[in-house]
């Protein structure tokens, strides 16, 4: 145990040393419309970013809704007017809460984030965080830091190896009968020290990444709050992340944010919430109004059904059901939301899920925005639990709603079978 402690202490010391040697100081804000010098390393990184951006433009994930993209860009321009003309926004249909900023000003925003934000305020905080990465050249600095740290690691490892070689030569020169075991011992110590240098170097890179993330949170907060958005939105979206992870079907996801590690790229969610809550002060726990939620919902409504379908395909039904509860809060789109709640139960197939699906589909069809498929799935679920009359009624309504349904022949066959009592 003491060996472990000693090793950890040495690794930490080396990490600190590497931080001091390798880590570039966090940069100042970049001037607007600054283009890198063609001969600089940054120009090379921009070139790589431009290629990646071209790939995004033809990517299958790209959401091509001009209105939606303009909406997100509009929010971004509100919090970062100085960069508005040079930043390009790409909404990607990816069901994970995430976003990213390329060094050349391309910003990716996942549909999973747009679906989970309750208000424009929550979205704007995340965009503020990403703009900070761009404005402070974090990616470029991280790249430079990585190179510097690797060089420092290499220099240290060469030093250790040369020192060990000299010590081994000296031990061999003594002619002592114990020279052989001394050389062996020096060799193993040098190997261990080199391994520690490597681990400490990697830990130092992650530490720099966490510093950048904390800084992006801090300046992102200042930026979006200064633009007039609610202070509570920043801790709120992270609270949501914590709660949704806790609702996951999978242990690995539930445990993902429980413990800090020196090999994490981001501070743990709890620390971020604490820091953002402190910045928000007394406003930290203020809930958004229904009107604020509905205003934001109007912007994403055309994609709600498709994004929920994407989310279901992750097959983490605990998380999806949690998300659906959150989306139900303002009391709109309940036909769509309850249809997908039913779909989550249908796909999960746990004991009692057929009944839960029936209940959700029933709620769905009580709203005008229920997808026609709600009736078909309600009929199917009712049939499974043996309620033939209700199943027939649901199937008939489905056919009335979608007279040219491509599965009409299947539904008609079902109805015929139900009429003749062919089904249990």
């Amino acid at each position: 145990m003491s060996w472990l402690r000693q090793s950890a202490a040495i690794a930490a010391s080396i990490a600190l040393l590497l931080n001091a040697t390798g880590a570039a100081a966090q940069p100042a804000f970049r001037p607007a419309n600054l283009k890198p010098n063609i001969s600089s390393a940054e120009a090379g990184i921009w070139g790589a970013s431009d290629k990646a951006e071209a790939a995004i433009r033809s990517s299958a994930d790209l959401n091509r809704d001009v209105q939606l993209t303009a909406y997100v860009k509009g929010v971004l321009c509100r919090i970062a007017p100085e960069y508005c003309s040079e930043i390009r926004v790409y909404v990607l249909d990816r069901p994970f809460l995430n976003a990213g900023a390329w060094p050349n000003g391309a910003v990716e925003v996942n549909s999973g984030l747009l679906l989970r934000a309750r208000t424009e305020d929550e979205l704007s905080f995340v965009l503020g965080h990403e703009v900070t990465h761009f404005a402070r050249n974090h990616s470029l600095r991280q790249h430079e830091n990585e190179k510097a740290t690797r060089n420092a690691m290499l220099a240290l490892q060469i030093g250790v190896t040369l020192g060990a070689a000299a010590a081994m030569y000296s031990a061999a020169s003594t002619g002592s009968p114990y020279a052989s075991s001394t050389i062996d011992s020096i060799s193993r110590s040098a190997q261990s020290l080199n391994n520690l240098i490597y681990l400490a170097g990697v830990a130092s890179l992650f530490a720099y990444s966490r510093e950048s993330e904390s800084e992006a949170d801090e300046f992102g907060f200042k930026r979006y709050h200064a633009a007039g958005y609610q202070a509570a939105a920043a801790p709120s979206i992270w609270h949501y992340v914590e709660d949704e992870n806790a609702a996951s079907d999978f242990d690995a996801v539930r445990r993902s944010q429980a413990r800090a590690s020196i090999y994490m790229t981001h501070p743990i969610t709890g620390q971020r919430i604490a820091a953002l809550s402190a910045m928000a002060g007394t406003d930290a726990k203020k809930d958004p109004s229904r009107e604020e939620q509905l205003r934001y919902r109007a912007a994403i409504r055309p994609h709600l059904a498709a994004w929920l379908k994407d989310d279901l395909r992750r097959r983490d039904f605990g998380q999806t059901l949690f998300l659906l509860d959150r989306l139900s809060e303002p009391g709109e789109d309940l036909g769509v939301i309850n249809f997908y709640r039913g779909e989550a139960f249908r796909l999960r197939r746990k004991d009692g899920d057929v009944e839960k699906a029936v209940a959700a589909y029933r709620v769905s069809v009580s709203y005008a925005d229920a997808p026609p498929a709600s009736y078909r799935e309600l009929g199917e679920a009712l049939r499974k639990i043996g309620d033939k009359p209700s199943a027939q009624e649901a199937f008939r309504t489905y056919l009335q709603k979608v007279p040219d349904a491509q599965d009409r022949w299947l539904i008609e066959a079902s109805l015929k079978s139900l009429e003749t009592g062919g089904l249990k």
Binding site: R313, D316, V336, P371, L382, A405
Partner: protein
């Protein structure tokens, strides 16, 4: 000189021994299960060994390479298995169940095609089909590769003895799909020993439902209480496809940010 050639040949053979072999599958019948088979109209190559995620019951054939055309042959996939293997506990894959409804079966295929890497997969033109003596579902697919190339497909699947059998053909919509379709059409429609009957598939499904594990004691659950907010809006929803599947992107990586890859190129792993 001869020795040098022999050495080179030996080294080449040793090198190749570490590679997978792509075998020719000659034109002719290929069994899918005891009573079902398809007849290949020309020679294909078995690319199954280069598709590491597929299950044992799934073979993949191609003529011009898997990026240009691929024919999935499902040879009795048992209930509880997916067409692709699960790589991590927290990354589930679509799983076939013998009691899937017709709609769910189409959804399973679309989701599986998505799980092998295609995106925005949609199905259309659902129709009855026949596989040997079994009633089958026939439908078309379209989707996009990760880099945005349009892909078309057609599939015919049936559940025989609680197992899934079928064939799925996928190729780029431009040239490769239309060029291969006559052969694929002959292959799939050639399986009918009698004309497909619209009601027949449903009847066979109902038989399976009757045998399925839903206990008859399951009482009808009381309707859930209505939500207390009446305000709702109408959202137009597509009714064209039975299953429209859009590919979720890969799960967020442990490492994120702007990182240099092993080959020296730069990659952004988005993160907030």
């Amino acid at each position: 000189m001869k020795r040098a050639r022999a050495l080179i040949a030996t080294l080449a053979m040793l090198g190749l021994a570490g590679c997978v072999s792509i075998n020719r599958v000659p034109a002719g019948p290929v069994a899918l299960s005891k009573g079902q088979s398809i007849t290949l109209q020309s020679d294909w190559a078995e690319v199954t060994p280069v598709m590491p995620q597929r299950q044992n019951a799934v073979r993949v054939l191609s003529i011009d390479g898997p990026a240009l055309n691929r024919l999935y042959l499902i040879q009795g996939l048992p209930s509880g298995q997916g067409m692709v293997k699960r790589i991590a506990k927290e990354k589930p894959v679509p799983v076939f169940r013998a009691d899937l409804s017709p709609t769910e079966l189409v959804e399973f295929i679309a989701d599986s095609v998505t799980a092998v890497g295609f995106q925005r997969v949609e199905t259309s033109n659902l129709r009855p089909g026949r596989f040997g003596g079994a009633d089958a579902l026939r439908f078309d697919l379209n989707g996009v590769t990760a880099t945005g190339l349009d892909v078309s497909g057609t599939a015919q699947v049936a559940i025989v003895d609680q197992k899934l059998v079928g064939a799925i053909f996928l190729a780029p919509s431009e040239h490769y799909f239309p060029a291969m379709m006559p052969e694929i059409e002959t292959m799939l429609s050639g399986q009918a020993t009698q004309a497909a009957q619209p009601a027949a598939y449903q009847a066979s499904y109902e038989e399976r439902v009757a045998k399925s594990a839903i206990p008859p004691s399951h009482a009808l659950a009381p309707p859930a209480p209505m939500a207390d907010v009446a305000n709702s809006s109408t959202i137009p929803l597509p009714t064209k496809s039975v299953a429209a599947a859009r590919q979720p992107a890969p799960a967020p990586s442990q490492r994120c940010g702007f990182v240099e890859q092993a080959n020296g190129t730069l990659k952004l792993v988005p993160c907030i």
